[in-house]
């Protein structure tokens, strides 16, 4: 067994403080503050146009912030040009140079750094070995499959032993099956290198499955930062609740006061508000479809809410069945696990919707 060449460097933190960026009158990033821990696999998640790629390119030095600072390992790099940052970026298009072989592509960054020839050879081998493409070193990028190109792009970037690894939608050019495989490989690689990694995606499943923490972005603003489970369990606002998974969002208003406080949705149905819960101004009621259930009898009073409803539609999703249950004029989604043999609720039939008060959230936009 060969002595393994390590491509690891001590992991560093990335701090983004008070960053604003405008293109003309278009305010693309609005007071962005993020603290990314050393060795963390961090995602910028949001719909297209939310500013996530702009922020990533700002860290790489391709965009300049109007205000604010970017620090890597405590060092302010805000005014450094891209080629002096040691921040490795894997481009969405991979950006492999078609006039160079795989080996030349991977060696490029090392050559630019004036690394000695023998060392270059060693590190190119190591980087290609890391992604399992040592045997394709003499190929041209055009002779590789999409997945292989993606791995060359990663190898080219980690070969320079960057302080931080930036991944700009690296899976978007792969087919669905490859995507699952490659994202595992990426996670695995990141764990082995212990490299602080920032991953940009619009796909919540991608972010959830491989990232330690996620910053959900919308409209140039960081909406919430947290682990995937935190974001799902305790979304900070309606955008996060709606963007991650499916949520029932019911508009209404607070009625009564003190212990009698409740939330009345359009149509008159009231949901009790637990004592001490603070309801933000203009809030809506939010709960997940799988936190509700349907029964055909009133059931024992275990503290759960039990609301009469009419089944309006039914979709088979595989592991579960999603019912549309109408409460008054409002339709909510309810997921029931699918078990063969168990009787289904028919469309048009009456049922009762059961909901634990603990799964109710009141969120504002």
């Amino acid at each position: 067994m060969n002595a393994p060449v390590s491509l690891t460097t001590p992991a560093v933190s990335v701090d983004i403080a008070g960053v604003n960026l405008s293109y003309g009158t278009n305010h693309v990033l609005k007071d962005v503050n993020l603290a990314i821990e050393p060795g963390e696999f961090f995602a910028f998640l949001g719909p297209s146009g939310c500013g996530k790629t702009t922020l990533l390119r700002l860290i790489a030095g391709f965009n300049q912030a109007d205000t604010g600072h970017v620090r890597i390992g405590g060092k302010d790099i805000t005014d450094l040009p891209p080629w002096k940052r040691d921040v490795g970026m894997v481009f969405q298009s991979y950006a492999l140079w078609p006039h160079m072989t795989v080996r030349r592509n991977v060696a490029f960054g090392l050559e630019e750094r004036g690394v000695k020839r023998a060392e270059i050879e060693r590190r190119v081998e190591a980087a290609l070995g890391l992604v399992g493409l040592g045997h394709l070193a003499e190929r041209r990028p055009s002779q590789l499959s999409g997945g292989q190109q993606q791995r060359v792009a990663v190898a080219r970037t980690v070969a320079i032993e960057p302080k931080v690894l930036l991944l700009d939608e690296p899976l978007s050019n792969l087919d669905a099956k490859m995507r699952v495989q490659v994202r595992r490989e990426l996670r695995d690689l990141q764990q082995r290198l212990g490299l602080t990694t920032i991953f940009v995606t619009h796909d919540q499943e991608e972010a959830n499955s491989i990232c330690d923490r996620i910053a959900v972005m919308n409209d140039g603003v960081v909406q919430q930062v947290g682990t995937p489970m935190e974001l799902y369990e305790r979304p900070a606002n309606l955008f996060v609740a709606g963007f991650l998974g499916t949520a029932n969002i019911l508009k209404g208003r607070v009625v009564g006061s003190g212990a009698d406080r409740s939330f009345e949705i359009d149509g008159g149905t009231r949901f009790p508000i637990a004592e001490g819960d603070r309801i933000p101004e203009g809030a809506a009621l939010v709960f997940r479809p799988q936190h509700a259930s349907l029964t055909d009898q009133a059931g024992p009073g275990d503290g759960a809410l039990s609301l009469p409803c009419v089944i309006a539609n039914r979709e088979f999703l595989g592991a579960s069945i999603r019912y549309g249950a109408r409460i008054g004029a409002t339709e909510v989604a309810v997921d029931m696990p699918f078990q063969s043999g168990r009787e289904l609720f028919e469309i048009g039939s009456e049922a009762r919707l059961r909901l634990s008060p603990r799964s109710l959230h009141w969120l504002s936009a």
């Binding site: 790489a60 030095g61 391709f62 040009p81 891209p82 080629w83 002096k84 940052r85 921040v87 490795g88 970026m89 481009f91 969405q92 298009s93 950006a95 140079w97 078609p98 006039h99 490029f108 960054g109 630019e112 750094r113 041209r140 055009s142 080219r156 970037t157 320079i160 050019n173």
Partner: protein, 572 residues
């Protein structure tokens, strides 16, 4: 049931083409064979046979390589073509680089002015250039006045190189600019991300990626200069290959084999240059923008860079526009000799051009319209047959039509003379002396360009649009008439205008074929005028008319393409 359903598809496959399509393909093939393959084959045949007999021989080539004049001409042609590429690159590189890589005010203007030389026949520019840069031209008179020396810009081969490089540098400018613009921004950013910047970044990433565009332009310049007949003739340079071929055939006679041998050498050189560039480009079609991302990032220039940049651009543009300005001045000048500017101005030349010489303009309009018309009919038909049918051997039509690119005009002219002189009409006039042969030669020469335009237009139309028409009951031919042709209209029109405007100033082939002044097109008239000092004024006026004609057409085609793309919602 099963038997029938398996039999039907195989039958359908066997008769994939309708009788109409087959007839169309055969008609096109016959036309191309008659007016392209046969004349060229005749030239080659004559070159390889003993004079007056049909015995195969290499003695003609032996004579060619033994004659000092021909060897010198061969070398001169290579030298002039290569040097023209070098100088055209010197003009094109800064313009392409500055306008695509930097935030450059007036980049659009530079790109537009950069195309201007193409809309003037090079031999027309040659006369104007002589007035500015000749031994006793404006620049040398001033140099002599101020510094006491002269520069031989226009002496001998220098003159040809100078005129050709100014005329043809737009080919490099267009291709190189497009190549630079098509480089995905991420290609450059990835290099920066890995630590590369400045000139190293340019040398290692940007230039190699733009290389295919540069090579495509450079090889085109080489071939065009190698084949050009009129410019050296007008500058009185006779020891180059194309002029030699012309002179042999016109002065010694149509039976002299040397003209044919030279023609074969010209074809070989053309094909070789194209083959070499195609080989160099093989596998390097780096269309790197396909996955989104804009072109290269544009940098803001520092003040010193700006001064240098604008200085260089203005100098080059001044040089490029010199022939146009000179021509314009000349067309209004009474006498312009041994002085930096004309002595006095007059409108008489224009009067003469529109009076007695208006026949040239009329002929040109007729010939170029007919040639353009033939080209788009053939272009649409070939494009349709190749892209939309499964006809066996349909690619051959494309190859045959495109092969015209490699045939120098003078060769085609000689081929027509030789082939069709023996063919006589009932009243005894040879076919080659009819003006229609000029039209046919022009049509064949411009067909490759019109064909590309038609291809592009047809490729943009989704097949499902045609399938929808057939699904609703339209036959193949009605689908073509009601769906395909209307949707291609913009591209077809653009193809027509390109053919028309380039045919209007073509001279290489027509110089051979014009038999009488009354049948002559504008380019020929220009050439005749420019031969004598007294004819220069009216010649220049005719040149201005030609330039305006071509410029208007070019602008029109631009407008048409843009509008039809907008109408189809293609944008960009």
């Amino acid at each position: 049931m099963t038997a029938i359903s398996t039999a039907t598809p195989s039958r359908a496959r066997r008769f994939a083409a309708t009788p109409g399509q087959i007839a169309l393909a055969l008609a096109i093939a016959a036309f191309l064979l008659m007016f392209l393959v046969l004349p060229v084959a005749t030239v080659i045949y004559v070159a390889f046979t003993e004079k007056g007999t049909s015995t195969f021989t290499l003695v003609n080539f032996y004579d060619f390589f033994r004659t000092e004049l021909f060897m010198r001409s061969l070398w001169n042609s290579f030298y002039v073509s290569a040097m023209s590429v070098v100088w055209a690159s010197v003009f094109a590189l800064p313009l392409a680089y500055l306008t695509t890589r930097f935030v450059f005010r007036g980049a659009a203007l530079v790109q537009t002015l950069g195309f201007l030389p193409l809309i003037m026949p090079p031999f027309v520019g040659a006369v104007a250039m002589q007035l500015f840069f000749g031994r006793n031209g404006s620049v040398n008179l001033l140099l002599d006045d101020w510094f006491g020396f002269k520069i031989d810009f226009m002496e001998g081969l220098n003159g040809v190189i100078f005129v050709q490089s100014i005329h043809y540098f737009p080919f490099i400018l267009i291709n190189l600019s497009a190549a630079l613009r098509n480089i995905d921004r991420a290609m450059e950013e990835a290099a920066q991300n890995l630590g590369s910047s400045g000139f190293r970044l340019f040398r290692r990433i940007v230039f190699p990626l733009a290389m295919p565009g540069y090579l495509a332009g450079a090889s085109l310049v080489f071939v065009k200069v190698f084949d050009d007949l009129a410019t050296p003739l007008l500058l009185n340079v006779k020891d180059m290959l194309a002029p030699q071929a012309y002179l042999r055939v016109t002065s010694i006679g149509i039976a002299d084999p040397m003209g044919y041998v030279i023609s074969v050498v010209l074809i070989v050189a053309s094909v070789a240059a194209m083959w070499l560039s195609a080989r160099a480009l093989k596998g390097r079609d780096y269309a790197t923008t396909q996955r989104g991302g804009g072109g290269l990032a544009r940098r803001v220039m520092t003040p010193w860079e700006a001064v240098l940049g604008y200085g260089v651009v203005i100098l080059i543009l001044a040089l490029v526009l010199a022939p146009h300005l000179g021509l314009l001045l000349l067309s209004f000048a009474t006498i312009w000799s041994f002085s930096p500017l004309p002595d006095a101005y007059t409108l008489a030349h224009y009067g003469r051009v529109f009076g007695e010489s208006s026949v040239y303009i009329k002929n040109t309009l007729i010939y170029a319209s007919l040639a353009g018309g033939i080209d788009i009919v053939l272009g649409v038909a070939i494009a349709y047959l190749v892209l939309r049918t499964k006809l066996i051997g349909r690619e051959w039509l494309d190859w045959m039509a495109s092969a015209a690119l490699a045939i120098p005009g003078v060769v085609l002219g000689i081929g027509y003379l030789r082939t069709f002189y023996g063919v006589t009409l009932p009243d005894g006039t040879p076919l080659a002396s009819l003006w229609i042969t000029i039209v046919l030669a022009l049509a064949i020469r411009r067909l490759p360009y019109a064909l590309r335009a038609c291809y592009a237009a047809l490729q943009q139309i989704s097949v499902s649009l045609e399938e929808a028409a057939e699904n609703l009951g339209a036959t193949k031919s009605r689908t073509v008439r009601r769906i395909v042709v209307p949707l291609m209209a913009g591209g077809i029109l653009a193809g027509f205008v390109t053919s028309f405007s380039t045919a209007a100033v073509e001279l290489s082939a027509t110089l051979m074929l014009v038999q009488s002044n009354s049948d002559a097109p504008l380019a020929y008239g220009l050439y005749v005028f420019m031969q004598s000092a007294a004819g220069r004024g009216p010649g220049a006026a005719l040149g201005v008319v030609a330039v305006i004609l071509v410029a208007a057409c070019t602008f029109l085609s631009h407008l048409i393409i843009e509008r039809s793309q907008k109408a189809k919602g293609l944008g960009h």
